[in-house]
């Protein structure tokens, strides 16, 4: 008998060593559990058994042999901490399944799980040495099970990590790509590709808001129904992403269309578009992290589209400004470069352009040795249209003043021309005069221009004779002209309303009154001094306020 026992002990030992070798050679949890269970069933000649493991403090059935499907499903909820054998539900389960032995699988400090074994084939009870042997097997198994659990956990963590890396690289890739593209259609296409690839989506649509317009991009929902539903809601107020529950709660009509997620595309907190997504084909819900990702990608896309729009606008503006600079140069060149010298007249002139191309104009055209045409005009409006009209006017003036046509008739002709050339209510205020150096006279016509000031003996005479402004209608009533006999020390000041209406930062105007008082006080000075003083006074008054109008002035002093 002792020999027999020895032999048995030796066989047991060999089997244990072999068992240990096998289960420690693998990190595959299923393989290990399967092996443990089969070894036990073989050793004790049991017909059924199961192993359940501790997963997050719950004991879950992992592998079984000889247990019916029904009983597998009926495995009760037990927690790892409790004393299972006093759990009535578990006891009933063991009885129903005819499981006779329950043993914990424990590592040094944790309960890893339990093993349950059924009745032995020979109906005998488990003896004490059977149970000792079972514990030995389980002790050997514990480390292998724990190792493989750690590996599983690592695999899971790795996969999570892979998933995050994949998302990060998607974000990175899109941000790079969005920077390169020139068209917003490409940006939206890429955005869609990325989202449907990332989340397995077949129903989607992008909406972009521009003012009151809604641009519908690549709709895979019925557009009419969608727009109807969208227009019924305050879509610009969707400022945070909405998940399935929120969509269902807030916008049931949209939810019924199969919409599960609505994510705003925002710039500086303002919703400029929506990403609307249907369900994922794999029937998984969108997690918070998913929605966060969609929000990030959407922001990237809308910022890229908006940047491109702003960039294009800036380019156009820059181009326009360059053109305006050019126009300003051309316009400046249209003004007289040289002021002629006369026996009786001392002439000074100035034109200060505001930032824009303006509509002010003056000209000094010597007609012959003794006569000179001096003109001043202000075209309504600013910018290129005003500048064009002014150039047109100047060209005509250069021609007509040399034709020896009486000034009043010539003014009518200019008016007809300007009236034909303007369509949008533009007009010109215009004053011109022919200065005669021999007779010391000026013959003038004033077509609605600020009356030039004739300063004589401390008084002001306003030169107002003429007619209506140019360009309003063809000449029906002829213009009147007046000839003024000039006297020595007379000063004639021609100006545009940029002078009299110059504004300071409080929005107050310089006023005609102030101009007249100033002019009278300095009328004894030379024409150049008078001009400079008026300019200085106006600029001091304006205190550096940017003027919207040109300032133009011609001063003629009679010697």
């Amino acid at each position: 008998m002792p020999d027999n026992d020895n032999l048995k002990a030796k066989r047991n030992l060999t089997a244990l060593v072999e068992f240990s070798r096998v289960i420690n050679s693998s990190l595959d949890l299923n393989f290990i559990l399967n092996n443990v269970l089969l070894t036990c069933l073989g050793k004790f000649l049991a017909t059924k058994g199961l192993i359940a493991l501790n997963v997050n403090s719950k004991i879950l059935l992992k592998t079984s042999k000889g247990i019916t499907e029904e009983m597998i499903h009926k495995f009760p909820d037990i927690s790892a901490g409790e004393d299972f054998l006093s759990n009535e539900e578990f006891k009933t389960y063991l009885q129903e399944s005819n499981l006779k032995v329950v043993e914990r699988i424990s590592s040094s400090n944790d309960c890893l799980g339990i093993i349950c074994l059924g009745e032995k084939l020979n109906k005998e009870d488990y003896r004490k040495d059977d149970l000792d042997f079972l514990r030995t097997i389980l002790n050997i198994s514990a480390s292998a099970i724990q190792n493989s659990l750690i590996v599983e956990e690592l695999k899971f963590v790795n996969r999570e990590l892979d998933s995050r890396i994949q998302r990060l690289s998607s974000l990175f890739e899109l941000s790079k790509e969005f920077g390169l593209f020139s068209e917003s259609t490409k940006v939206t296409r890429l955005l869609i590709f990325s989202l449907i690839g990332q989340f397995l989506i077949q129903k989607y649509v992008l909406l972009r808001f521009e003012g009151k317009d809604i641009e519908v991009i690549e709709p895979k929902f019925p557009v009419d129904e969608l727009l109807n539903n969208i227009k019924n809601i305050d879509y610009l107020k969707i400022e945070t992403p909405l998940n399935k529950e929120q969509v269902a709660l807030l916008f049931p009509q949209l939810f019924e269309m199969g919409i599960q997620v609505i994510v705003p595309m925002q710039i500086q907190g303002r919703t400029k578009g929506l990403i609307i997504l249907g369900k994922r084909v794999n029937d998984l819900d969108y997690t918070d992290a998913d929605i966060e990702f969609i929000f990030s990608v959407g922001s990237l896309a809308i910022i890229s589209m908006e940047n491109r729009r702003l960039f294009r606008e800036a380019l156009e503006k820059q181009k326009l400004e360059e053109e305006l600079d050019l126009a300003r140069d051309i316009q400046r060149n249209l003004l007289p470069q040289k002021i002629p010298v006369y026996k009786n007249f001392e002439i000074a002139a100035i034109n200060l352009s505001s930032k824009q191309v303006g509509g002010d104009y003056y000209d000094i055209i010597p007609l012959d040795k003794n006569t000179c045409c001096i003109a001043i005009a202000d075209v309504s409006g600013k910018g290129v249209p005003a500048a064009l009209l002014m150039a047109n006017m100047q060209a005509f003036l250069q021609v007509i003043c040399r034709q020896n046509i009486p000034l009043d008739i010539a003014t009518g002709m200019i008016n007809d021309l300007i009236s034909q050339n303007t369509t949008d209510g533009k007009f010109i205020t215009f004053f011109w005069g022919i200065f005669d150096d021999i007779n010391n006279t000026v013959k003038y016509v004033n077509a609605g221009h600020n009356p030039p000031l004739l300063l004589r003996n401390g008084k002001i005479i306003k030169l107002e004779t003429g007619g209506i402004i140019l360009g309003v209608m063809n000449t029906v009533f002829p213009y009147q002209s007046e000839t003024v006999q000039l006297q020595p020390k007379d000063v004639l000041i021609l100006f545009t309303d940029g002078i009299s209406e110059a504004m300071n930062k409080n929005g107050e105007e310089f006023t005609d009154k102030k101009l007249e008082e100033l002019a009278l006080s300095i009328s004894a000075e030379s024409s150049e001094r008078i001009l400079q003083k008026i300019k200085q006074e106006v600029q001091t008054f304006a205190e550096g306020t940017i003027q919207s109008d040109d300032m133009t002035m011609v001063v003629i002093k009679v010697k």
């Binding site: 892979d162 994949q166 790079k176 590709f193 690839g197």
Partner: protein, 116 residues
């Protein structure tokens, strides 16, 4: 810039698109064009050969999603073949094996079409 190219060949009813290089946001439109052309020719049985594909991003995967519905509506399918482990891992991560049949080789994928 990452290089990417495709070539398309027909074997009977089945068209095979072979991918090479990097399929990402930048190159996705190339593959998109391939699908559009095949669909325009009413060729809906498509095998995509990944043998020489080094990398795929979610924008690349999106191209497959964009056309699958239309293709399946026309009794066709997109079957995927010969992926390296890195590429397969991305498909797997995003759950594509649920929706697409993935084969070890182009021939196996073609054979699957012929069985039907």
């Amino acid at each position: 810039m990452a290089e990417f190219s495709t070539s398309v060949k027909d074997k009977g009813d089945v068209s095979i698109i072979s991918l090479k290089g990097f399929l990402d946001a930048h190159t996705a439109p190339i593959l998109e064009t391939n699908f559009v052309e095949l669909i325009n020719k009413n060729r809906y049985k498509i095998v995509v050969d990944f043998n020489e594909l080094a990398y795929i991003s979610s924008a690349g995967l999106g191209v497959f999603m964009a056309f699958i519905e239309k293709i399946r509506e026309n009794n066709g399918d997109i079957k995927l073949a010969s992926m390296n482990d890195k590429v397969y891992n991305i498909f797997d991560l995003l759950g594509f094996p649920l929706l697409y049949e993935i084969f070890k080789s182009e021939d196996e994928a073609i054979k699957k079409f012929l069985e039907k």
